[in-house]
Symmetry: C2
Subunit: 491 residues, 2 copies
Amino acid sequence: MGKFLTSREENYSQWYNELVVKADLAENSAVRGCMVIKPYGFAIWEKMKDALDQMFKDTGHENAYFPLFIPKSFFSKEAAHVEGFAKECAVVTHYRLRNKADGTGIEVDPDAKLEEELIVRPTSETIIWNTYKNWIQSYRDLPILVNQWANVVRWEMRTRLFLRTAEFLWQEGHTAHATKQEAIDETVQMINVYAEFAEKFMAMPVIMGHKTENERFAGALDTYCIEALMQDGKALQSGTSHFLGQNFAKAFDVKFSNKEGKLDYVWASSWGVSTRLMGALVMAHSDDNGLVLPPKLAPYQVVIVPIYKGEDQYRTVLEAGNKIKDQLKEYGISVKFDMRDTHKPGWKFAEYELKGVPVRLALGARDLENGTIEVARRDTLEKNTYPQEGIAKVVKDLLNEIQENIYQKAFKYRAEHTFSADTLEEFKDILDNKGGFVYAHWDGTAETELKIKEDTKATIRCIPVDNKLEEGKCIYTGKPSAQRVLFAKAY
Amino acid sequence: MGKFLTSREENYSQWYNELVVKADLAENSAVRGCMVIKPYGFAIWEKMKDALDQMFKDTGHENAYFPLFIPKSFFSKEAAHVEGFAKECAVVTHYRLRNKADGTGIEVDPDAKLEEELIVRPTSETIIWNTYKNWIQSYRDLPILVNQWANVVRWEMRTRLFLRTAEFLWQEGHTAHATKQEAIDETVQMINVYAEFAEKFMAMPVIMGHKTENERFAGALDTYCIEALMQDGKALQSGTSHFLGQNFAKAFDVKFSNKEGKLDYVWASSWGVSTRLMGALVMAHSDDNGLVLPPKLAPYQVVIVPIYKGEDQYRTVLEAGNKIKDQLKEYGISVKFDMRDTHKPGWKFAEYELKGVPVRLALGARDLENGTIEVARRDTLEKNTYPQEGIAKVVKDLLNEIQENIYQKAFKYRAEHTFSADTLEEFKDILDNKGGFVYAHWDGTAETELKIKEDTKATIRCIPVDNKLEEGKCIYTGKPSAQRVLFAKAY
């Protein structure tokens, strides 16, 4: 195991790429743009999934599963959607292979051409609304509150592990409602669920807001997002929730009879987060020694590393370690006791530091004599010695403290990298020399938004929901503006 | 809701098709051969998944995720595998669509043709062993005990919901070992896990055995399976575990240095179960009134249906129902209290019977006066009245009894439909007039196996692991045989 990483300062991008691979989170596969999520990385994703799934169920949602493939013609049914989605995607054209005549392998059987090509889903609004058409007749059938955990494919030319891959894992909620207000309430509820998840589980503060029309989901009337700040001063969109109005209901002719017996189109929302959150988690907290995982998402929260010589010490340390392990488990703490004799303690220390295990306990010969144990926390790298007696309570409290500390550290970083700019010059200076979020006035036009992007590479991350109105002048055109919006360079 | 189903006797196949749709388990989608798994069906699959996932983790396995796509050339690397798998599958040939010149929609962009076609995974041995090549250098890297939950696609021409669909959900375990014995032990361990799951959770007795060479997984040296008997006397293969020898290691050049420093190829197993189990669950237990679910897999184990008139009764019944609901929850019972005023009690009774909810509690005005409640069990359709006091304990015991009773009923059915045949005539007579499993002698050749299949439509389901040796003569050729094997017509 190569412990040493490129430092963040030296090359942030390389640091990230190395860390994801060296910490056994993911790696590139033989298929261009598709990743392999390794067991350690997948265990973190499972924790995320379980927490989110519980939050979805607590808010009344059920899971279902819809087809991987979508008929090509479905995309053309919603005008904005086809522009946004149907271009860069995997197209299935045939359903059979055959042996080559010369016996050198297999080839596509030209006789097995599909009448209509199938698209590997980049998102499922179209196939789902085509299905909902059969599920909905009356207001009694509403609301439909359904979520799907699935893989999706968007053919990306430039890919990066977790952040942008051709195939990724995600969940997509698709809800159907009798009224506009109910659909909007659902949209808002779910972006709040995402924000709560990001802050409580990922220990990652986020800013919630509306996307500009320009950055909206293809087919949405309003897109809410949460935006987090990474340690290189770039923003990362970490979840979106869309109010779709009646667009998809109209495209797929989904009507219901309301309580008065009148026919109307159904109102919709959709919302999703993906394995991109894994990238956000890595970049929000980790350091030059490796991952720093919030205890709530760590595959194991504590590792016990024994230090011993000879058979006698081996037996004593094994017994003491198991006792401590059992105590921790009783406190609901997940723990790994690494008794492998194939690796030395120093190697293990580096390994678990790299993998971001929140708390490391080291149990040596002197500890056994004194009834003590060494406790090292990953976030601050501090070490302290405690009595073995009552260690579970100490560790439990420490895990809570680490969860909170990681959040506070990210919050502080964000506060120190959030600025206001009143001129384009100031704006550029901040982006070039400090990085981070910049609140600035904008005249509200897509034209100006694009020009600022071309000129500075910064985009409007969102119009924050808690924005206070404040009159000012657009930094680019000088035209009047009623509020500042949130800019940043972004992933 | 149309309650009435075609009866099993009238048309078993139609009964199944109607039941799956009417009980809201699944339906056909707009994409040929692909199903939509509806929330109620998916909730059952989630219960299965959770139970299996825990069993996999308890036996030391971790989850990971590998690409959806497999390069075409990978399939040619293992000779037997390509014959078995690479033919009927979805082939991705292009990665972009474009607007049609005449503005009438979108079409495949001929400039975006892939250099090498990608196959949507029908199973993942090839891509996984290509990945393991980089994970394995030394015996220290072994064993690898990895499982993947995923969707797979096999282009089936004749599909049936859950039983045979183009896309289905499954798990596939892929393990790598330093020794042959360890890989065999793993293969056996996992077929035992499947058998335990089938019997304890699905309440479905199974027979465990080896597949004949003919029916083996493409690329395996030995395939273990579990076989269950459906109510129409046909068998359903419900899980397989394969000892792959060094075949895939050789195909993908995966070697490791053993403790003595010598290079050797890695040994492998793979094992899987799929959403096909949903079909097995339906067909093993359900009756002409609808689903019969084992309590351990029911999305909710108990439903409370209130019967009331007027506002006063509404309030009393709501209060009493909530109290009972809370008591049941304290006993770890999942419960739905259906207070909807959009549907009448009779409708609800039929609905929950159709959906196989194990226990139904009905709470009416007279019950409120008497402090009683009506308890109906789905498996026997028996009804009894109990005091509300202590009802949770009664229901808890009843759920255990139902789980056991469903198993016993299926066990009894199987016992009554398991036969021995000593002549081909007897064999055919059983298959034609009784159905079920038939133990018969076979000469051990693939040729005879195929002839029996052509002649009778019955296949060798397995050579049971607990088979006693018994000399006899092949029912087809009269040649000597050392043991009977298990035949049946099968799904």
